[in-house]
Symmetry: C2
């Protein structure tokens, strides 16, 4: 298996090593020959790009993928290390996520899913550590604690958010919802603080920060309500949709299906390792220039570049001011996701919160490795940020602090999304006032350039589902505009 | 607008008239010319067929649709009468139904949905009429009544069905679930009867029968648990997913999108008004013969014929015994769905149950017509069956009995699915022991013949979503087997 430049691994034997193996690495890195032409250029090979290039090539269009990395998947990819997939980014899926589920169903991968949780053996408890002390609870007690706290947090309308956001795919369906985009999570906490127990407060804050990975001040309360609506307005729904079902073979085992289907049409060209410097639309065709000076042109271009990276590319004609303003604000998610392989078998059924003192606030037992070790996944964020590769001892300490004495660390695996120049953060999470001012601008086209990214999806925004929603939208538009392909030809 | 032969309308002025207008009627009824050949024949133009022919033609395959009716949509179609769409069959959709939602999203029809319920004005109550008396309740009380009764009904595992059916797309994931397919709804009611109030019992039975439209004895308890799991294990989820969101323009406004997209490829041929008598697979090609003796051949055939109709077609070689057994048992849903346009504006916010004495057991205010009348939709089934066109006075009486004195009927609209020779019932609902013995057999291929129908979907079986799931599956298989289309040609 090829290794990506992305990601880090640490073991006592090897120390810190940059780059981890992944089935998402594509080699050789290009199949482009001379004298080719394309109907559409897709910039970025995450799920938005993969979906749009798959749909477009199947429908007869000739597509060039231009990807900065050496791999597909964007912010969702898995590293296969000694037979075990570690999820470096976006991980979990659910049947209530329509776009991703349609693909799982279509690729007959429904039975390739498994639950992250296994409470059948081991410690089988929830460990809540705060500045005020430590509690050990059953998972039922954990659920009751969080369900109760969340109900207080979201219940702005006496109907647990159903009234203010009845349609989860239409954030602003009720115009009054806009006012909650002027509030941060901190603002909402201030409103309900007298009704929260200390344990509720700690659990609630760390759950909110698990979603946004920003700070409480930079987390839009509206966007949290949107997540809540997407999950069916219950904590159980949040658990089910956000953090339960993952691919046995890792996300890259799913992403590669899109890529291979597109390749099988004979109409997909690709160049990896090709960061983009500029995109120029002369009204008839769009010309992309890579940092190393190569140029590619096509009648349409689909940019799947994430919000936080868009302002590194020069657009001609210039982008509209509202989009530029949103790009320069950016989203706030600086998730630190660290996988730890530990020797304790019993920790498989452990979940924990250590907040606010610890650099990693939330963690769960996520799997058992082929070696029989427990795999624990730990989350931190901007509220107490670390660069995990910078000081591995500090990172290990943050893992250990989640359950002192129980973290005999055999391996760490992570991707530093904050320092990733092609992501500049993890999944989208909105600060206050970004969505209500800029969502429509972010979704708009710019001449012959279309923008497709989960960051501005209408449904499961921030999720793999939203990426597929967006890739589907862009491909459909291009297909309609370039006309039905009644006769096709292969490009390869 | 063209009229279909299907459906009935009654008004005081016209009396009973067979056939109602629909945008789903296709005219002229064929575009086939001589000397054409196809890659795949699709039998049936409901959502399974529409999805498979859309996916196949977009991917470069040449498809012939053979449809018995004069319209697309199968068991889901809408009649547009004086500017208002009456849903003759399958109606409601939800974002938690992944396959249908992906299509709604892809066709940018998210904003074409509206809620059936409008409790903003009028009587705003629930009227529960049983043999023991009548109760008028608020809708909150209605919800509490049904939620409480359903919780008792489904709670076989102390977790409201979550433990016995954790994956809604995999009915038998927990092998122990099979035992509930040996139970009827009546069997389960017998187990919990001492814990139900009389009102709970009436509401619960009529809700179960609204789902199955069979009898309590012929309703598989397992399949009811499956519906419950699909809806997220809550009554609110059932309301949201089963009976809330519908297309402003009617189902046919959605179905026509699939058909038109396929047509735009230049690779769709179709013949309507063409019931099939036999399907013969000689191992190299499949030859279909219509009742009037026309023959069509192709390397593959996708049959979307419903379970209850499959045994009217002669297959050569013969179908396997397990499938034949299931076909001969059939599903039990004999839904009687009657739309009534009534003069009372206040009834817009009414819901009602009249059970078990009445021929129509369950009804809701479903819309307001352009004339300002209230549209009420009423449901009956095999438990107290009528042929609504046979005795219109009796049908009107059944409507009136739902809320005596409040049903000043201006119009009736309905489709008699029981007497429809191409449906022989409404949406699939399983009797005990059908699914556990036959689901896999129904899903299996038969040589070059593939079977795609919501009746044997794995997820939202019985729903439009399941039809799209199945059409997607069949098209994907055919596409893979006939090879990627690297060069295509138009057939028209």
């Amino acid at each position: 298996m090829m290794s990506s430049r992305d990601g880090f691994q640490w073991t006592p034997e090897t120390g810190l090593v940059q780059g981890v193996p992944s089935i998402g690495v594509i080699s050789p890195s290009t199949n482009v020959t001379t004298n080719q032409s394309w109907d559409v250029i897709v910039v970025g090979g995450g799920y938005s790009g993969l979906t749009s290039l798959r749909d477009a090539t199947v429908a007869g269009l000739r597509v060039l993928l231009v990807e900065a990395r050496d791999r597909i998947g964007g912010r969702s990819w898995s590293s296969n290390i000694e037979g075990y997939p570690f999820e470096m980014g976006g991980t979990w899926v659910h049947m209530f996520q329509p776009h991703v589920w349609r693909e799982i169903s279509r690729y007959q991968m429904r039975n390739e899913l498994e639950s992250s949780f296994d409470f059948s053996h081991g410690v089988n408890h929830f460990q809540l550590r705060s500045s005020q002390g430590e509690s050990i609870m059953s998972h039922d007690e954990e659920d009751a604690l969080l369900a109760g706290a969340l109900a207080k947090f979201v219940n702005v309308d006496g109907q647990l958010g159903r009234k203010i956001m009845p349609l989860s795919h239409d954030t602003f369906h009720i115009p009054e919802a806009r006012k909650y985009d002027n509030m941060s999570a901190q603002d909402r906490l201030d409103e309900i603080s007298l009704s929260l127990t200390p344990n509720e407060r700690v659990a609630l804050e760390s759950f909110i920060l698990l979603c946004s990975c920003g700070t409480l001040q930079t987390t839009s309360f509206l966007e949290f309500l949107h997540w809540w609506a997407l999950c069916g307005y219950t904590y159980q729904g949040c658990l089910d949709c956000l953090i339960t079902y993952k691919f046995k073979g890792g996300q890259s085992s799913f992403a590669i299906k899109f890529f291979k289907e597109a390749l099988s049409t004979g109409r997909l060209s690709y160049v990896f390792n090709s960061p983009v410097s500029s995109i120029h639309d002369n009204g008839k065709k769009v010309t992309l220039t890579t940092r190393d000076g190569r140029q590619y042109s096509a009648p349409r271009l689909i940019s799947t570049v994430p919000l936080n990276v868009l302002n590194t590319i020069k657009f001609e004609p210039p982008l509209d001011p509202q989009r530029v303003a949103a790009m320069n604000i950016g989203h706030v998610n600086q998730c630190v996701k660290v996988h730890a392989e530990i020797s304790s078998k019993g920790m498989r059924s452990w979940t924990g919160i250590s907040y606010p003192f610890n650099k990693l606030a939330y963690a769960i037992g996520d799997g058992t490795t082929p070696q029989g070790n427990t795999h624990v996944v730990c989350f931190g964020g901007n509220f107490n940020h670390i660069q995990p590769e910078e000081d591995v001892a500090a990172t290990k300490k943050a893992v250990d602090n989640l359950s002192p004495g129980n973290m005999d660390i055999k391996r760490l695996v992570f991707h530093n999304w904050s320092r990733d120049e092609f992501a500049k953060g993890a999944w989208f999470f909105s600060p206050p006032q970004l969505l209500s001012t800029s969502l429509e601008a972010l979704r708009a086209r710019h001449g012959n350039v279309l923008f497709a990214n989960s960051d501005w999806a209408v449904g499961w925004r921030s999720f793999i589902d939203g990426a597929i929603e967006e890739g589907t939208r862009a491909a459909m538009t291009v297909k309609e505009e370039l006309g039905p392909r009644t006769t096709f030809r292969s490009n390869l």
